[in-house]
Protein backbone atom coordinates (compact mmCIF):
# COMPACT_ATOMS: atom_id res chain seq x y z
CA UNK A 1 0.00 0.00 0.00
CA UNK A 2 1.41 3.41 -0.95
CA UNK A 3 1.05 6.51 1.14
CA UNK A 4 1.06 9.91 -0.48
CA UNK A 5 2.31 12.85 1.55
CA UNK A 6 -0.67 14.84 2.78
CA UNK A 7 -1.11 18.30 1.36
CA UNK A 8 -0.34 20.85 4.05
CA UNK A 9 -2.39 24.03 4.43
CA UNK A 10 -0.59 27.25 3.42
CA UNK A 11 0.01 28.44 7.00
CA UNK A 12 1.79 25.18 7.85
CA UNK A 13 5.40 26.34 7.26
CA UNK A 14 4.98 29.29 9.62
CA UNK A 15 3.56 27.06 12.33
CA UNK A 16 6.07 24.29 11.52
CA UNK A 17 3.32 21.72 11.24
CA UNK A 18 5.53 18.88 10.12
CA UNK A 19 4.67 16.31 12.77
CA UNK A 20 2.37 13.35 12.32
CA UNK A 21 -0.69 12.87 14.52
CA UNK A 22 1.19 10.30 16.62
CA UNK A 23 4.03 12.82 17.19
CA UNK A 24 1.55 15.41 18.46
CA UNK A 25 0.10 13.01 21.02
CA UNK A 26 3.46 11.78 22.26
CA UNK A 27 5.01 15.29 22.40
CA UNK A 28 2.14 16.63 24.47
CA UNK A 29 1.86 13.58 26.72
CA UNK A 30 5.62 13.91 27.31
CA UNK A 31 4.98 17.29 29.00
CA UNK A 32 3.15 15.37 31.75
CA UNK A 33 6.22 13.37 32.81
CA UNK A 34 7.92 13.82 36.18
CA UNK A 35 8.89 17.49 36.38
CA UNK A 36 12.33 18.89 37.14
CA UNK A 37 13.63 20.26 40.44
CA UNK A 38 13.17 23.77 39.11
CA UNK A 39 9.44 23.11 38.83
CA UNK A 40 9.20 22.03 42.46
CA UNK A 41 11.16 25.09 43.57
CA UNK A 42 8.78 27.37 41.65
CA UNK A 43 5.77 25.54 43.08
CA UNK A 44 7.23 25.75 46.58
CA UNK A 45 7.75 29.50 46.13
CA UNK A 46 4.20 29.98 44.86
CA UNK A 47 2.66 28.02 47.73
CA UNK A 48 4.82 29.98 50.17
CA UNK A 49 3.61 33.30 48.77
CA UNK A 50 0.05 32.06 48.88
CA UNK A 51 0.46 31.14 52.56
CA UNK A 52 1.75 34.65 53.31
CA UNK A 53 -1.42 36.02 51.70
CA UNK A 54 -3.63 33.51 53.51
CA UNK A 55 -2.21 34.37 56.94
CA UNK A 56 -2.60 38.08 56.20
CA UNK A 57 -6.20 37.45 55.18
CA UNK A 58 -6.89 35.61 58.44
CA UNK A 59 -5.44 38.54 60.39
CA UNK A 60 -7.74 40.88 58.41
CA UNK A 61 -10.72 38.68 59.25
CA UNK A 62 -9.79 38.73 62.95
CA UNK A 63 -8.90 42.40 63.33
CA UNK A 64 -10.67 44.12 60.43
CA UNK A 65 -9.42 46.24 57.56
CA UNK A 66 -7.55 48.68 59.83
CA UNK A 67 -4.29 46.95 58.92
CA UNK A 68 -4.71 47.93 55.27
CA UNK A 69 -3.74 51.43 54.14
CA UNK A 70 -7.23 52.87 53.73
CA UNK A 71 -7.25 56.56 54.62
CA UNK A 72 -10.20 58.85 53.88
CA UNK A 73 -10.96 59.89 51.17
CA UNK A 74 -9.05 56.91 49.70
CA UNK A 75 -11.37 54.06 50.64
CA UNK A 76 -10.69 51.98 47.53
CA UNK A 77 -7.05 51.16 47.18
CA UNK A 78 -4.69 48.21 46.67
CA UNK A 79 -7.34 45.46 46.87
CA UNK A 80 -9.59 47.02 44.23
CA UNK A 81 -6.49 47.86 42.14
CA UNK A 82 -5.43 44.22 42.27
CA UNK A 83 -8.96 43.04 41.53
CA UNK A 84 -9.08 45.08 38.32
CA UNK A 85 -5.53 43.95 37.47
CA UNK A 86 -6.38 40.23 37.67
CA UNK A 87 -9.72 40.54 35.87
CA UNK A 88 -7.84 42.31 33.09
CA UNK A 89 -5.23 39.55 32.89
CA UNK A 90 -8.02 37.09 32.18
CA UNK A 91 -9.22 38.93 29.10
CA UNK A 92 -6.31 38.00 26.83
CA UNK A 93 -7.03 34.31 27.35
CA UNK A 94 -10.63 34.63 26.22
CA UNK A 95 -9.58 36.85 23.31
CA UNK A 96 -7.21 34.13 22.11
CA UNK A 97 -9.44 31.14 22.85
CA UNK A 98 -12.81 32.52 21.73
CA UNK A 99 -12.42 35.60 19.53
CA UNK A 100 -9.51 34.25 17.49
CA UNK A 101 -11.40 30.94 17.18
CA UNK A 102 -14.25 32.80 15.47
CA UNK A 103 -11.69 34.56 13.26
CA UNK A 104 -10.17 31.17 12.36
CA UNK A 105 -6.64 32.28 13.24
CA UNK A 106 -4.44 29.21 12.86
CA UNK A 107 -1.73 30.48 15.23
CA UNK A 108 -4.18 30.53 18.13
CA UNK A 109 -4.27 26.74 18.36
CA UNK A 110 -0.94 26.04 20.03
CA UNK A 111 -1.19 28.78 22.65
CA UNK A 112 -4.88 28.93 23.51
CA UNK A 113 -4.98 26.22 26.18
CA UNK A 114 -2.26 27.87 28.26
CA UNK A 115 -3.87 31.30 27.93
CA UNK A 116 -7.33 29.96 28.74
CA UNK A 117 -6.00 28.30 31.89
CA UNK A 118 -4.42 31.65 32.74
CA UNK A 119 -7.85 33.28 32.31
CA UNK A 120 -9.58 30.90 34.67
CA UNK A 121 -6.94 31.22 37.38
CA UNK A 122 -6.71 35.00 36.97
CA UNK A 123 -10.47 35.39 37.39
CA UNK A 124 -10.38 33.00 40.36
CA UNK A 125 -7.77 35.30 41.88
CA UNK A 126 -9.68 38.47 41.00
CA UNK A 127 -12.90 37.18 42.53
CA UNK A 128 -11.27 37.02 45.96
CA UNK A 129 -10.47 40.72 46.10
CA UNK A 130 -13.93 42.30 46.34
CA UNK A 131 -14.60 39.78 49.11
CA UNK A 132 -11.37 40.74 50.96
CA UNK A 133 -12.19 44.42 50.39
CA UNK A 134 -15.72 44.38 51.87
CA UNK A 135 -14.29 43.91 55.37
CA UNK A 136 -16.90 41.55 56.73
CA UNK A 137 -15.96 38.75 54.38
CA UNK A 138 -18.27 36.17 55.94
CA UNK A 139 -21.39 37.93 54.69
CA UNK A 140 -20.29 38.41 51.09
CA UNK A 141 -23.38 36.48 49.99
CA UNK A 142 -25.45 39.58 50.79
CA UNK A 143 -24.44 40.66 47.28
CA UNK A 144 -26.58 37.93 45.77
CA UNK A 145 -30.34 38.22 45.24
CA UNK A 146 -31.60 35.65 47.69
CA UNK A 147 -34.83 35.75 49.74
CA UNK A 148 -33.49 37.06 53.06
CA UNK A 149 -35.55 37.61 56.21
CA UNK A 150 -36.93 40.96 55.08
CA UNK A 151 -37.22 40.13 51.37
CA UNK A 152 -34.90 43.04 50.66
CA UNK A 153 -33.37 42.68 47.20
CA UNK A 154 -30.08 44.09 45.90
CA UNK A 155 -30.04 47.45 44.10
CA UNK A 156 -29.80 46.38 40.47
CA UNK A 157 -29.14 49.98 39.44
CA UNK A 158 -25.73 49.79 41.08
CA UNK A 159 -22.70 48.92 38.92
CA UNK A 160 -21.31 46.97 41.88
CA UNK A 161 -24.20 44.50 41.52
CA UNK A 162 -23.65 44.38 37.73
CA UNK A 163 -20.10 43.44 38.58
CA UNK A 164 -21.23 40.53 40.74
CA UNK A 165 -23.19 39.15 37.79
CA UNK A 166 -20.49 39.90 35.22
CA UNK A 167 -17.60 38.37 37.19
CA UNK A 168 -19.49 35.27 38.33
CA UNK A 169 -20.77 34.67 34.76
CA UNK A 170 -17.27 35.17 33.40
CA UNK A 171 -15.74 32.77 35.91
CA UNK A 172 -18.40 30.12 35.22
CA UNK A 173 -18.34 30.37 31.43
CA UNK A 174 -14.55 30.54 31.07
CA UNK A 175 -14.08 27.60 33.46
CA UNK A 176 -16.61 25.51 31.54
CA UNK A 177 -15.05 26.53 28.21
CA UNK A 178 -11.63 25.39 29.44
CA UNK A 179 -12.96 22.07 30.77
CA UNK A 180 -15.02 21.49 27.62
CA UNK A 181 -11.96 21.96 25.40
CA UNK A 182 -9.97 19.63 27.64
CA UNK A 183 -12.29 16.61 27.45
CA UNK A 184 -11.00 15.07 24.16
CA UNK A 185 -7.40 15.78 25.17
CA UNK A 186 -7.84 14.17 28.56
CA UNK A 187 -9.24 11.14 26.72
CA UNK A 188 -6.12 11.07 24.53
CA UNK A 189 -3.94 11.13 27.65
CA UNK A 190 -6.09 8.38 29.22
CA UNK A 191 -5.34 6.15 26.24
CA UNK A 192 -1.58 6.66 26.60
CA UNK A 193 -0.90 6.34 30.36
CA UNK A 194 -1.10 3.37 32.69
CA UNK A 195 -2.10 2.46 36.24
CA UNK A 196 -3.81 4.87 38.61
CA UNK A 197 -3.23 7.78 36.24
CA UNK A 198 -5.27 5.96 33.60
CA UNK A 199 -8.12 5.64 36.10
CA UNK A 200 -8.01 9.35 37.04
CA UNK A 201 -7.82 10.59 33.45
CA UNK A 202 -10.47 8.01 32.53
CA UNK A 203 -12.92 9.45 35.04
CA UNK A 204 -12.07 13.02 33.99
CA UNK A 205 -12.58 12.25 30.29
CA UNK A 206 -16.31 11.69 31.02
CA UNK A 207 -16.52 8.70 28.69
CA UNK A 208 -15.17 10.56 25.66
CA UNK A 209 -14.32 8.22 22.77
CA UNK A 210 -14.33 10.59 19.82
CA UNK A 211 -17.29 8.97 18.07
CA UNK A 212 -18.87 10.79 15.15
CA UNK A 213 -21.95 11.52 17.29
CA UNK A 214 -19.85 13.08 20.05
CA UNK A 215 -17.87 15.23 17.60
CA UNK A 216 -21.01 16.29 15.78
CA UNK A 217 -22.50 17.84 18.92
CA UNK A 218 -19.14 18.87 20.40
CA UNK A 219 -17.92 20.94 17.42
CA UNK A 220 -21.16 22.85 17.19
CA UNK A 221 -21.29 23.45 20.93
CA UNK A 222 -17.68 24.67 20.93
CA UNK A 223 -18.55 27.19 18.24
CA UNK A 224 -21.53 28.47 20.25
CA UNK A 225 -19.48 28.62 23.45
CA UNK A 226 -16.92 30.77 21.60
CA UNK A 227 -19.72 32.92 20.20
CA UNK A 228 -21.13 33.43 23.72
CA UNK A 229 -17.72 34.06 25.32
CA UNK A 230 -16.85 36.78 22.77
CA UNK A 231 -19.45 39.39 23.80
CA UNK A 232 -19.04 38.25 27.40
CA UNK A 233 -15.36 39.13 27.58
CA UNK A 234 -15.99 42.56 26.04
CA UNK A 235 -18.81 43.15 28.53
CA UNK A 236 -16.92 42.11 31.65
CA UNK A 237 -14.25 44.78 31.63
CA UNK A 238 -16.80 47.33 30.43
CA UNK A 239 -18.85 46.55 33.53
CA UNK A 240 -15.70 46.79 35.68
CA UNK A 241 -14.99 50.19 34.11
CA UNK A 242 -18.53 51.35 34.91
CA UNK A 243 -17.82 50.70 38.60
CA UNK A 244 -15.77 53.87 38.16
CA UNK A 245 -17.26 55.67 35.17
CA UNK A 246 -20.83 55.78 36.48
CA UNK A 247 -19.69 57.66 39.58
CA UNK A 248 -18.94 61.39 39.46
CA UNK A 249 -15.40 61.26 40.90
CA UNK A 250 -13.06 63.38 38.72
CA UNK A 251 -10.69 61.05 36.87
CA UNK A 252 -13.31 58.27 36.82
CA UNK A 253 -16.29 59.91 35.16
CA UNK A 254 -15.34 59.31 31.51
CA UNK A 255 -17.35 57.88 28.63
CA UNK A 256 -14.12 56.52 27.13
CA UNK A 257 -13.72 54.15 30.08
CA UNK A 258 -15.30 50.96 28.67
CA UNK A 259 -13.19 50.66 25.47
CA UNK A 260 -10.16 52.06 27.33
CA UNK A 261 -10.45 49.37 30.01
CA UNK A 262 -11.08 46.55 27.53
CA UNK A 263 -7.99 47.50 25.50
CA UNK A 264 -5.96 47.79 28.69
CA UNK A 265 -7.21 44.43 29.89
CA UNK A 266 -6.17 42.65 26.70
CA UNK A 267 -2.85 44.48 26.73
CA UNK A 268 -2.10 43.44 30.30
CA UNK A 269 -3.30 39.89 29.65
CA UNK A 270 -1.01 39.39 26.67
CA UNK A 271 1.81 40.76 28.82
CA UNK A 272 1.10 38.00 31.31
CA UNK A 273 0.78 35.42 28.49
CA UNK A 274 4.30 36.35 27.33
CA UNK A 275 5.65 36.21 30.90
CA UNK A 276 4.23 32.72 31.33
CA UNK A 277 4.78 31.19 27.87
CA UNK A 278 8.42 32.17 27.29
CA UNK A 279 9.76 30.08 30.19
CA UNK A 280 7.02 27.45 29.90
CA UNK A 281 7.75 26.40 26.32
CA UNK A 282 11.37 25.86 27.27
CA UNK A 283 10.59 23.96 30.46
CA UNK A 284 8.11 21.65 28.72
CA UNK A 285 10.26 21.28 25.56
CA UNK A 286 7.51 22.42 23.18
CA UNK A 287 9.58 24.99 21.30
CA UNK A 288 8.64 23.29 18.03
CA UNK A 289 4.94 23.83 18.78
CA UNK A 290 5.01 27.40 20.17
CA UNK A 291 7.33 29.18 17.76
CA UNK A 292 8.64 32.66 16.93
CA UNK A 293 5.62 33.06 14.70
CA UNK A 294 3.29 32.81 17.71
CA UNK A 295 5.32 35.33 19.68
CA UNK A 296 5.41 37.68 16.70
CA UNK A 297 1.61 37.58 16.51
CA UNK A 298 1.19 38.01 20.26
CA UNK A 299 3.52 41.02 20.06
CA UNK A 300 1.46 42.56 17.28
CA UNK A 301 -1.66 42.24 19.46
CA UNK A 302 0.27 43.87 22.31
CA UNK A 303 1.33 46.69 20.02
CA UNK A 304 -2.25 47.25 18.83
CA UNK A 305 -3.77 47.34 22.31
CA UNK A 306 -0.81 49.32 23.70
CA UNK A 307 -1.35 51.94 21.02
CA UNK A 308 -5.07 52.12 21.86
CA UNK A 309 -3.98 52.75 25.47
CA UNK A 310 -1.60 55.48 24.30
CA UNK A 311 -4.53 57.14 22.54
CA UNK A 312 -6.77 56.72 25.61
CA UNK A 313 -4.19 58.30 27.93
CA UNK A 314 -3.78 61.23 25.56
CA UNK A 315 -7.55 61.58 25.20
CA UNK A 316 -8.07 61.58 28.98
CA UNK A 317 -5.73 64.56 29.30
CA UNK A 318 -7.30 66.30 26.30
CA UNK A 319 -10.83 65.85 27.67
CA UNK A 320 -9.73 67.07 31.14
CA UNK A 321 -8.41 70.27 29.55
CA UNK A 322 -11.24 70.67 27.04
CA UNK A 323 -14.00 70.09 29.64
CA UNK A 324 -13.06 73.35 31.37
CA UNK A 325 -13.92 71.60 34.65
CA UNK A 326 -11.49 72.63 37.37
CA UNK A 327 -11.88 69.42 39.39
CA UNK A 328 -11.13 67.28 36.35
CA UNK A 329 -8.17 69.49 35.39
CA UNK A 330 -6.73 69.42 38.92
CA UNK A 331 -6.96 65.64 39.11
CA UNK A 332 -5.08 65.18 35.86
CA UNK A 333 -2.49 67.84 36.71
CA UNK A 334 -1.79 66.11 40.02
CA UNK A 335 -1.64 62.72 38.32
CA UNK A 336 1.51 63.89 36.50
CA UNK A 337 2.95 66.43 38.97
CA UNK A 338 1.27 65.74 42.34
CA UNK A 339 2.55 63.62 45.22
CA UNK A 340 1.97 60.45 43.19
CA UNK A 341 3.81 61.64 40.09
CA UNK A 342 6.06 58.57 40.13
CA UNK A 343 3.08 56.21 39.83
CA UNK A 344 1.55 58.30 37.06
CA UNK A 345 4.75 58.29 35.01
CA UNK A 346 5.33 54.56 35.65
CA UNK A 347 1.96 53.90 34.05
CA UNK A 348 2.57 56.13 31.04
CA UNK A 349 6.13 54.94 30.39
CA UNK A 350 5.49 51.21 30.89
CA UNK A 351 2.29 51.10 28.85
CA UNK A 352 2.22 53.86 26.26
CA UNK A 353 5.95 54.12 25.52
CA UNK A 354 7.46 50.66 26.10
CA UNK A 355 4.81 49.00 23.91
CA UNK A 356 5.94 51.18 20.98
CA UNK A 357 9.23 49.25 20.88
CA UNK A 358 7.23 46.41 19.34
CA UNK A 359 7.10 48.23 16.01
CA UNK A 360 10.55 46.72 15.41
CA UNK A 361 10.61 43.19 14.08
CA UNK A 362 13.91 42.50 15.85
CA UNK A 363 12.26 43.23 19.22
CA UNK A 364 9.22 41.10 18.40
CA UNK A 365 11.24 38.02 17.51
CA UNK A 366 13.78 38.31 20.35
CA UNK A 367 12.38 36.38 23.30
CA UNK A 368 14.66 38.02 25.87
CA UNK A 369 13.49 41.51 24.92
CA UNK A 370 9.88 40.30 24.80
CA UNK A 371 10.16 38.83 28.28
CA UNK A 372 11.60 42.08 29.66
CA UNK A 373 8.86 44.09 27.93
CA UNK A 374 6.22 41.74 29.35
CA UNK A 375 7.47 42.43 32.89
CA UNK A 376 7.21 46.18 32.21
CA UNK A 377 3.64 45.61 30.98
CA UNK A 378 2.69 43.73 34.16
CA UNK A 379 4.11 46.47 36.36
CA UNK A 380 2.69 49.26 34.22
CA UNK A 381 -0.81 47.84 34.14
CA UNK A 382 -0.94 47.32 37.90
CA UNK A 383 0.12 50.94 38.33
CA UNK A 384 -2.46 52.10 35.78
CA UNK A 385 -5.25 50.83 38.02
CA UNK A 386 -3.48 52.12 41.13
CA UNK A 387 -3.23 55.59 39.59
CA UNK A 388 -6.81 55.63 38.35
CA UNK A 389 -8.22 54.46 41.68
CA UNK A 390 -5.97 55.93 44.36
CA UNK A 391 -4.80 59.18 42.82
CA UNK A 392 -8.31 60.10 41.65
CA UNK A 393 -9.76 59.50 45.12
CA UNK A 394 -6.93 61.22 46.98
CA UNK A 395 -7.71 64.65 45.47
CA UNK A 396 -11.40 64.61 44.74
CA UNK A 397 -13.02 68.02 45.36
CA UNK A 398 -12.24 70.40 48.20
CA UNK A 399 -8.51 70.58 49.03
CA UNK A 400 -9.02 70.36 52.82
CA UNK A 401 -10.50 66.88 52.28
CA UNK A 402 -7.54 65.67 50.25
CA UNK A 403 -5.23 63.06 51.71
CA UNK A 404 -2.83 60.39 50.52
CA UNK A 405 -2.82 56.73 51.31
CA UNK A 406 0.28 54.67 51.84
CA UNK A 407 0.04 50.92 51.23
CA UNK A 408 0.85 48.92 54.37
CA UNK A 409 2.30 45.44 54.91
CA UNK A 410 -1.23 44.03 54.75
CA UNK A 411 -1.69 45.47 51.24
CA UNK A 412 1.62 44.12 49.94
CA UNK A 413 1.21 40.68 51.55
CA UNK A 414 -2.26 40.19 50.06
CA UNK A 415 -0.89 41.31 46.66
CA UNK A 416 2.01 38.83 46.93
CA UNK A 417 -0.43 36.14 48.07
CA UNK A 418 -2.51 36.68 44.94
CA UNK A 419 0.53 36.02 42.73
CA UNK A 420 1.25 32.88 44.76
CA UNK A 421 -2.34 31.67 44.49
CA UNK A 422 -2.37 32.27 40.72
CA UNK A 423 1.08 30.76 40.17
CA UNK A 424 0.25 27.68 42.23
CA UNK A 425 -2.79 26.83 40.12
CA UNK A 426 -1.04 27.57 36.85
CA UNK A 427 1.94 25.38 37.72
CA UNK A 428 -0.28 22.51 38.87
CA UNK A 429 -2.35 22.79 35.69
CA UNK A 430 0.67 22.82 33.37
CA UNK A 431 1.90 19.66 35.06
CA UNK A 432 -1.40 17.78 35.07
CA UNK A 433 -3.23 18.63 31.85
CA UNK A 434 -2.17 18.96 28.20
CA UNK A 435 -1.00 22.56 27.91
CA UNK A 436 -1.19 22.37 24.11
CA UNK A 437 -4.53 21.40 22.57
CA UNK A 438 -3.88 17.97 21.05
CA UNK A 439 -7.11 17.61 19.10
CA UNK A 440 -6.99 21.11 17.60
CA UNK A 441 -3.38 20.77 16.44
CA UNK A 442 -4.37 17.47 14.81
CA UNK A 443 -7.28 19.17 13.09
CA UNK A 444 -4.77 21.42 11.29
CA UNK A 445 -2.48 18.57 10.23
CA UNK A 446 -4.07 16.56 7.38
CA UNK A 447 -4.20 12.79 7.82
CA UNK A 448 -2.27 10.56 5.39
CA UNK A 449 -4.03 9.51 2.17
CA UNK A 450 -3.66 6.60 -0.22
CA UNK A 451 -4.41 8.75 -3.25
CA UNK A 452 -2.49 11.93 -3.97
CA UNK A 453 -3.92 15.42 -3.47
CA UNK A 454 -7.09 17.23 -2.45
CA UNK A 455 -10.09 16.47 -0.37
CA UNK A 456 -9.37 19.01 2.33
CA UNK A 457 -11.97 21.70 2.67
Amino acid sequence: MTTSAPELPDFAPKLRLTQSHADVTSDVVATLQTPSRGYYMLLFGAVGMFLVGLITFLILVKDGLGHAGYNPPVMWSVYITTFVFWVGIGHAGTLISAILFLFRSPWRTAVYRATEAMTVFAVMTAGLFPIIHIGRQWIFYWLLPYPNARYLWPNFKSPLIWDVFAISTYLTVSTLFLIFGLIPDVAAVRDRVKGWRKFIYGQLSLGWQGTDTQWRHYSRAYLYMAALATPLVLSVHSVVSWDFASSIVPGWHGTIFAPYFVAGAIYSGIGMVLTLLIPLRKALRIEHMITDYHFDNLSKLTLLTGTILFYAYAMEYFVAWYSGNIFEQTTFFRRAFGPMWWAGWTMIICNAFVSQLLWFRKVRTNLTSLFVISIFINIGMWFERYVIIVSSLSNDYIPWAWDNMNPTWADWCILAGSFGWFGMYFLLFARTFPIVAIQEIKEMIPMPRRRAGGGHH
Binding site: T3, F156, K157, D191, Q209, Y224, E443, P448, R450
Partner: protein, 175 residues
Protein backbone atom coordinates in the same frame (compact mmCIF):
# COMPACT_ATOMS: atom_id res chain seq x y z
CA UNK B 1 -14.02 0.70 37.61
CA UNK B 2 -16.99 2.66 36.32
CA UNK B 3 -19.50 5.14 37.54
CA UNK B 4 -22.63 3.43 38.90
CA UNK B 5 -24.56 3.39 35.65
CA UNK B 6 -26.62 0.36 34.57
CA UNK B 7 -24.62 -2.34 32.79
CA UNK B 8 -24.68 -1.72 29.08
CA UNK B 9 -25.35 -4.29 26.42
CA UNK B 10 -22.43 -5.11 24.16
CA UNK B 11 -23.28 -4.74 20.49
CA UNK B 12 -21.95 -7.46 18.18
CA UNK B 13 -20.17 -6.27 15.06
CA UNK B 14 -16.89 -5.62 13.29
CA UNK B 15 -14.30 -3.02 14.29
CA UNK B 16 -11.99 -1.81 11.53
CA UNK B 17 -8.99 0.46 11.95
CA UNK B 18 -7.73 2.80 9.19
CA UNK B 19 -4.54 4.78 8.74
CA UNK B 20 -5.68 6.70 5.67
CA UNK B 21 -8.49 9.20 5.74
CA UNK B 22 -9.58 8.58 2.14
CA UNK B 23 -9.69 4.83 2.71
CA UNK B 24 -11.92 5.37 5.74
CA UNK B 25 -14.31 7.74 3.96
CA UNK B 26 -14.52 5.42 0.94
CA UNK B 27 -15.37 2.51 3.25
CA UNK B 28 -18.05 4.59 5.03
CA UNK B 29 -19.64 5.64 1.71
CA UNK B 30 -19.53 2.07 0.43
CA UNK B 31 -21.15 0.63 3.56
CA UNK B 32 -23.86 3.29 3.51
CA UNK B 33 -24.56 2.56 -0.14
CA UNK B 34 -24.97 -1.11 0.74
CA UNK B 35 -27.58 -0.26 3.35
CA UNK B 36 -25.57 -0.31 6.60
CA UNK B 37 -26.96 2.39 8.86
CA UNK B 38 -25.50 1.50 12.27
CA UNK B 39 -21.98 2.89 11.82
CA UNK B 40 -19.79 4.44 14.52
CA UNK B 41 -16.66 6.30 13.47
CA UNK B 42 -13.91 7.10 15.97
CA UNK B 43 -11.43 9.87 15.21
CA UNK B 44 -9.04 11.91 17.32
CA UNK B 45 -10.19 15.30 16.04
CA UNK B 46 -13.27 16.81 14.37
CA UNK B 47 -13.02 15.87 10.69
CA UNK B 48 -15.24 17.31 7.96
CA UNK B 49 -14.50 14.56 5.46
CA UNK B 50 -15.85 11.93 7.84
CA UNK B 51 -18.89 14.10 8.59
CA UNK B 52 -19.60 14.43 4.87
CA UNK B 53 -19.16 10.70 4.28
CA UNK B 54 -21.61 9.94 7.09
CA UNK B 55 -24.04 12.54 5.74
CA UNK B 56 -24.42 14.25 9.09
CA UNK B 57 -26.74 17.21 9.29
CA UNK B 58 -26.20 20.13 11.67
CA UNK B 59 -26.37 19.20 15.32
CA UNK B 60 -29.51 20.25 17.21
CA UNK B 61 -27.29 21.85 19.90
CA UNK B 62 -28.14 25.21 18.33
CA UNK B 63 -31.73 24.94 19.52
CA UNK B 64 -30.63 24.43 23.14
CA UNK B 65 -28.28 27.44 22.91
CA UNK B 66 -31.07 29.65 21.53
CA UNK B 67 -33.68 28.58 24.07
CA UNK B 68 -31.18 28.83 26.94
CA UNK B 69 -30.09 32.31 25.88
CA UNK B 70 -33.66 33.59 25.53
CA UNK B 71 -34.57 32.03 28.89
CA UNK B 72 -31.61 33.80 30.51
CA UNK B 73 -32.58 37.12 28.96
CA UNK B 74 -36.20 36.80 30.12
CA UNK B 75 -35.06 35.67 33.57
CA UNK B 76 -32.71 38.65 33.86
CA UNK B 77 -35.37 41.23 33.06
CA UNK B 78 -38.03 39.31 34.99
CA UNK B 79 -35.94 39.00 38.14
CA UNK B 80 -34.75 42.61 38.23
CA UNK B 81 -38.14 44.14 37.44
CA UNK B 82 -40.04 41.91 39.82
CA UNK B 83 -37.55 42.37 42.69
CA UNK B 84 -37.52 46.15 42.25
CA UNK B 85 -41.30 46.29 42.40
CA UNK B 86 -41.54 43.77 45.24
CA UNK B 87 -39.72 46.16 47.64
CA UNK B 88 -39.76 49.57 45.96
CA UNK B 89 -36.79 51.74 46.95
CA UNK B 90 -36.43 55.06 45.21
CA UNK B 91 -32.79 55.43 44.05
CA UNK B 92 -31.59 58.70 42.54
CA UNK B 93 -35.07 59.76 41.46
CA UNK B 94 -35.10 57.07 38.78
CA UNK B 95 -38.15 54.88 38.00
CA UNK B 96 -38.53 51.93 40.38
CA UNK B 97 -38.10 49.48 37.50
CA UNK B 98 -35.67 51.18 35.11
CA UNK B 99 -34.78 49.12 32.08
CA UNK B 100 -31.36 50.50 30.97
CA UNK B 101 -29.35 49.35 34.03
CA UNK B 102 -31.16 46.00 33.98
CA UNK B 103 -29.89 45.32 30.45
CA UNK B 104 -26.53 44.47 32.01
CA UNK B 105 -28.02 41.79 34.29
CA UNK B 106 -30.18 40.41 31.47
CA UNK B 107 -27.17 40.28 29.14
CA UNK B 108 -25.02 38.39 31.65
CA UNK B 109 -27.78 35.88 32.35
CA UNK B 110 -28.34 35.42 28.58
CA UNK B 111 -24.72 34.34 28.27
CA UNK B 112 -24.73 32.26 31.45
CA UNK B 113 -27.88 30.24 30.81
CA UNK B 114 -27.07 30.02 27.07
CA UNK B 115 -23.65 28.51 27.83
CA UNK B 116 -24.98 26.14 30.48
CA UNK B 117 -27.73 24.84 28.21
CA UNK B 118 -25.25 24.40 25.34
CA UNK B 119 -23.11 22.11 27.47
CA UNK B 120 -26.18 20.37 28.82
CA UNK B 121 -27.20 19.71 25.22
CA UNK B 122 -23.89 18.00 24.40
CA UNK B 123 -24.12 15.79 27.48
CA UNK B 124 -27.77 14.98 26.82
CA UNK B 125 -27.47 14.32 23.08
CA UNK B 126 -24.33 12.22 23.50
CA UNK B 127 -25.84 10.19 26.34
CA UNK B 128 -28.79 9.26 24.12
CA UNK B 129 -26.40 6.97 22.21
CA UNK B 130 -24.41 5.81 25.23
CA UNK B 131 -26.86 3.14 26.35
CA UNK B 132 -24.94 0.37 24.59
CA UNK B 133 -21.34 -0.74 24.60
CA UNK B 134 -19.35 -0.64 21.38
CA UNK B 135 -15.80 -1.90 20.83
CA UNK B 136 -13.06 0.75 21.14
CA UNK B 137 -9.29 0.87 20.72
CA UNK B 138 -7.00 3.39 22.50
CA UNK B 139 -5.21 4.16 19.22
CA UNK B 140 -8.37 5.92 17.96
CA UNK B 141 -7.45 8.92 20.13
CA UNK B 142 -3.97 8.89 18.59
CA UNK B 143 -3.59 8.51 14.81
CA UNK B 144 -6.01 5.78 13.75
CA UNK B 145 -9.56 6.12 12.46
CA UNK B 146 -11.95 3.52 13.85
CA UNK B 147 -15.05 2.23 12.09
CA UNK B 148 -17.50 0.04 13.95
CA UNK B 149 -20.22 -1.72 11.96
CA UNK B 150 -22.97 -3.44 13.89
CA UNK B 151 -23.53 -6.87 12.33
CA UNK B 152 -24.90 -10.30 13.23
CA UNK B 153 -22.11 -12.87 13.83
CA UNK B 154 -23.10 -14.64 10.59
CA UNK B 155 -22.50 -11.55 8.41
CA UNK B 156 -19.23 -10.59 10.08
CA UNK B 157 -16.99 -12.68 7.80
CA UNK B 158 -18.13 -11.02 4.58
CA UNK B 159 -18.02 -7.61 6.20
CA UNK B 160 -14.48 -8.17 7.42
CA UNK B 161 -13.32 -9.07 3.91
CA UNK B 162 -14.91 -5.98 2.37
CA UNK B 163 -13.36 -3.72 5.03
CA UNK B 164 -9.93 -5.22 4.37
CA UNK B 165 -10.43 -4.64 0.66
CA UNK B 166 -11.33 -1.02 1.43
CA UNK B 167 -7.95 -0.51 3.08
CA UNK B 168 -8.46 -1.27 6.77
CA UNK B 169 -5.13 -2.14 8.41
CA UNK B 170 -6.76 -4.15 11.19
CA UNK B 171 -10.19 -5.75 11.55
CA UNK B 172 -11.48 -7.45 14.68
CA UNK B 173 -14.78 -9.09 15.59
CA UNK B 174 -16.64 -7.79 18.58
CA UNK B 175 -19.26 -10.05 20.10
Amino acid sequence: MRLPIPKRKTVPGVLASFEHIDAATDAIRDLRARGHRDLTVYVSHPNHEIEDALGHTNSPVRLFTLIGGLTGCAAGFGMTIWMSRDWPVLVGGKPIASIPPYVVIAFELTILIGALSTLFAVAFLSLLKAGRKIAYDPRFSDDRIGLFVAARPGDAGALEQSLRDAGAVEVTHAA
